[in-house]
């Protein structure tokens, strides 16, 4: 292995200096193109040679600016959006901006100087925008003060542009690089005001992503690509039934095989350690394990579905109660329907993995995590080492979608490295990844509504039975019985109803559940937007106009809906056997409406012709990455709507790989158009998740328009559409 150490920077120094004691050094051979790119192929490495002005930014002698990103790059484009926010205030030359990860260890040591580093809830831009603007503005003012002092002129007479401080009166300029050392010593009496959106000049532009180059030549380093001297590899086998344990095992058949080092116990299973991953994986498959599966081994998905349905008739906790629902339901045309969704796996392209090196007094970890702060504490706890001595080298994440928020693989890797006394790269197979995910919960959602003659809703009663994510993660017992994510998309119903009640029963099984792209909205938007469509049909009204009427007075929803109908050609006729479906949903502060065009042939083959999306996220930092996230959210939701189902049999997940857990491919994916309908003002909405919720109901509503058949249980592939057109 080639070890490149031409830039001996602080964080590299920490790693390299450990080599004297522990024989550890790290590095990769990198192609020339990646060396000059705005984002290093190894994004955890500090880019060398600059002057830190504050924790967020470093200025190099040539006026380049390195901006630290304290969120995880998992495809959403945060390595571009957040630097744009800092650069907006700083006044640097965008073509000289580079990005690197902020250090979670420093965040711990310096009292959360990077705030909360976790990435989730589509929150990175909207929750960090103000403090990143402040960091850029503060640095700009200090650079100006440094220049003004050199020139002996009032700071007010200076301005900045493209990485230069300018004194127009004397026609003098100084580059940021020449001022950074002085600026770093300046303390401001008061922080400067930050720009308001009408003053933005960089934010709002469709700038190319900074991280594209290393993702074109294989140089971008994901956790799974980590290579360390003396590194061993581990493959895991864990009990197929969640919560089960190892009763006994027989490693007689694998001990003598080439490269096998040892078998190490981990929670719920075993890790096989070898000198190569393939050897470890083959041995893990050959390992004979007798499992203590426990009582959950008798359960299956059909039983869970029956229990969730029955739970809707039991005692539920009230999440929302507005008006007299019983009275409202007592008059008018009654519609009562049940919607059901299965568990879903995240299945990011990069299977979970972690490389850990546990030494007597420090831990180094290379992985892709959505929660570096949490990972640091988790590693410390697993090894019994102070968290201040844990270094998380966050890599590019090969997809996250919520899965990399809780790092089960990290704890395993730390335990194994500690046991064998060497750095260990632990990799899950795809089968382990699918069978030991923390899943989008299975759910049953039932609505009762009554309609007046004009279609207005006299009363709406929504009930959901679903697993509690907080209970599953052990973070809360949810004593109220109402979990916000369980009722999101129901409790915040945008439609006008005379009386509304939303009830919830949290019902967990042994199957672990967690955040899956758009969380509760992923199932609740499917149910709600399918049901509203059915109400429109029951009222004999057009689904777009019916929604529009029920959204009267909500200007942002109406604007999205109208743009959607226009761009999506809602009023244009479609041939027999085809149809359009519409859905609109607000999640994470953003309203997204989608129209799907679908057709079904005589054999029941479904074809999706086109998806049009209209989006109000208030303001937009980068319209290019926003469009990419809507496309991504649509395809992710399409996979789930068409094919997604994790089913349990004998307590274990039946699916293991992409042949059984199918996802959308090129041929399944239609053209996707994104139209921004920005309402501005105080609204800053998220963008990573809101594209996902409307696609399942819009597609199912399109199938109804094409065939007259309603799909109330996902995935769609379980419904036979032959003979419907």
């Amino acid at each position: 292995m080639t070890v490149i150490r031409k830039h001996l920077t602080r964080r590299r120094f920490l790693v390299v200096s450990a080599s004297a004691a522990g024989g550890l050094a790290v590095g990769f051979a990198m192609p020339a193109a990646a060396e000059t790119s705005a984002v290093s192929a190894q994004p955890w490495d500090e880019i060398p040679g600059g002057q830190e002005v504050n924790a967020w930014l470093v200025i190099e002698p040539d006026d380049s600016v390195v901006i630290r990103v304290a969120k995880s790059e998992m495809g959403e484009g945060i390595f571009t959006a957040l630097p744009m926010i800092v650069a907006e205030e700083l006044g640097c030359d965008w073509s000289k901006v580079k990005a690197e990860y902020a250090s979670a260890n420093r965040n711990l040591r310096e009292s959360n100087i990077y705030q909360r580093m976790g990435t989730g809830g589509s929150s990175s831009v909207r929750r960090s925008r103000e403090y990143l603007q402040q960091a850029g503005a503060s640095a700009r003012v200090r650079l100006i003060q440094a220049a003004a002092a050199k020139w002996n002129v009032p700071p007010e007479s200076c301005s900045v542009k493209d990485g230069q401080v300018i004194h127009a009166a004397s026609n003098r300029t100084l580059g940021f690089g020449a001022l950074a050392a002085d600026a770093a010593k300046i303390t401001l009496a008061a922080e400067p005001a930050i720009k308001t959106p009408d003053q933005f000049t960089l934010i709002g532009k469709p700038l190319a992503r900074l991280d594209t180059a290393p993702k074109l030549d294989g140089s971008a380093k994901f956790g799974i690509d980590t290579r360390l001297p003396d590194m061993l590899y581990a493959a895991v086998v864990t009990c197929p039934v969640f919560g089960g344990t190892v009763k006994s095992y027989d490693d007689g058949a694998i001990k003598a095989k080439r490269g096998i080092v040892s078998v190490v116990p981990i929670p719920g299973g075993l890790a096989v350690v070898a000198d190569r991953f393939w050897r470890a994986k083959e041995a893990a498959l050959a390992l004979k394990v007798d499992w203590a599966e426990g009582p959950a081994a008798k359960t299956d998905s059909a039983q869970f579905a029956a229990e969730y349905r029955a739970a809707l008739d039991g005692d539920l906790a009230v999440a929302v109660k507005n008006g007299d629902v019983a009275a409202g339901l007592g008059s008018g045309k009654k519609v009562e329907l049940l919607y059901e969704v299965p568990h879903l796996a995240h299945a990011p392209m990069e299977p979970l993995n972690c490389t850990a090196h546990v030494q007597a007094d420090r831990i180094d970890v290379w992985m892709g995590t959505q929660d570096p702060d949490g990972a640091l504490k988790r590693a410390a706890k697993a090894a019994g080492i102070a968290p201040e001595n844990v270094y998380i080298h966050n890599c590019f994440l090969g997809g996250g979608f919520g899965r990399r928020a809780i790092n089960d693989e990290l704890e395993q890797a730390v335990l194994v490295s500690k046991a064998v006394g060497k750095p260990v790269k632990l990799v899950w197979t795809r089968e382990e990844d699918i069978r030991h995910d923390r899943y989008r919960p299975q759910a049953a959602i039932r609505f009762e509504a009554s309609l007046a003659d004009d279609g207005s809703i006299n009363g709406l009663h929504a009930k959901t039975a679903v697993g509690s994510i907080q209970r599953s993660l052990g973070v809360s017992t949810v004593p109220s019985g109402v979990e916000p994510s369980a009722v999101e998309g129901l409790a915040n119903l945008p439609y006008k109803v005379s009386a509304l009640e939303v009830d919830c029963i949290l019902k967990n099984t042994h199957v672990p559940v967690m955040f899956w792209r758009s969380v509760g909205s992923s199932q609740n938007a499917f149910a709600m937007e399918s049901f509203i469509d059915e109400l429109a049909h029951a009222a004999g009204q057009d689904p777009y106009r019916y929604r529009r009427k029920l959204l009267e007075g909500k200007a942002d929803f109406i604007a999205v809906l109208d743009t959607l109908a226009e761009k999506g050609d809602w009023s244009k006729p479609m041939p027999k056997g085809s149809g359009r479906g519409i859905a609109i949903h607000e999640s994470f502060g953003t309203i997204v409406g989608e129209i799907v065009e679908a057709s079904v042939d005589a054999k029941g083959v479904l074809k999706i012709g086109r998806v049009v999306a209209a989006v109000d996220c208030g303001h937009v930092v980068n319209p290019l990455t926003v469009a990419m996230q809507i496309e991504s959210g649509v395809v992710y939701g399409l996979s789930a709507a068409l094919f997604g189902a994790i089913t349990i049999k004998d307590g274990a997940v039946e699916q293991g790989n992409f042949d059984q857990y199918q996802v959308a491919r090129m041929a399944d994916t239609p053209p996707i158009e994104t139209h921004l309908v920005l309402s501005g003002g105080a609204k800053w909405g998220g963008i990573g998740e809101p594209g996902t919720p409307p696609i399942a109901p819009a597609l199912c509503n399109a199938i109804f328009a094409a065939t007259g058949k309603r799909i109330r249980s996902l995935p769609i592939m379980n419904t036979d559409l032959s003979g419907t057109t």
Partner: protein, 151 residues
């Protein structure tokens, strides 16, 4: 001993002949641009060229490849200058980026055999999985690369 000619350089590998090419590339030769996604030739993240053909390297054994010429993403071009890579940049294809080595290698081999593909040719031949859903941009980039290759 197995001999592989990888990106033009011959390598003699003392590994079991059953070793999948993927793991020989990643763990023996350190060529980590080729990714592990599924291990059963479903996802295409491991796509490389074997004697010019797009091949899912997780599902071929090195013992069957003695003397074969293998090209990985690292060897596709010296400077990310292959038309497919240029088109990927122009169309802003990658998101998380994990599957893109395989997508690029699949597209490069496909275009070498189908220089002027229709959308349905792309549907039939580009079957690699991308969980970020970059398919519409991959489609546009393949068309763009086809145009560039025609000159």
């Amino acid at each position: 001993m197995v001999t592989l000619i990888v990106n033009g350089t011959p390598h003699q590998l003392d590994i079991e002949p059953e070793t999948p090419l993927l793991w020989a590339l990643r763990d023996e030769l350190g060529l980590t641009g080729t990714k592990f996604g599924c291990g059963i030739a479903q996802c295409g993240a491991c796509t490389v060229h074997v004697n010019g053909d797009a091949t899912r390297s997780c599902s071929v054994q090195v013992g069957d490849l003695d003397g074969a010429k293998v090209t990985t993403i690292e060897g596709l071009s010296p400077d990310a200058g292959h038309p497919v890579q240029k088109a990927w940049l122009a169309e802003d294809v990658p998101q998380c980026g994990y599957c893109q080595s395989g997508q690029i290698m699949a597209a490069a081999a496909f275009l070498a055999q189908t220089p002027n593909p229709s959308d349905s040719d792309i549907d039939d031949n580009i079957t690699n999985i991308c969980r970020c859903g970059t398919y519409p941009r991959i489609r546009a980039a393949i068309h763009r690369a086809a145009g560039m290759m025609k000159g």
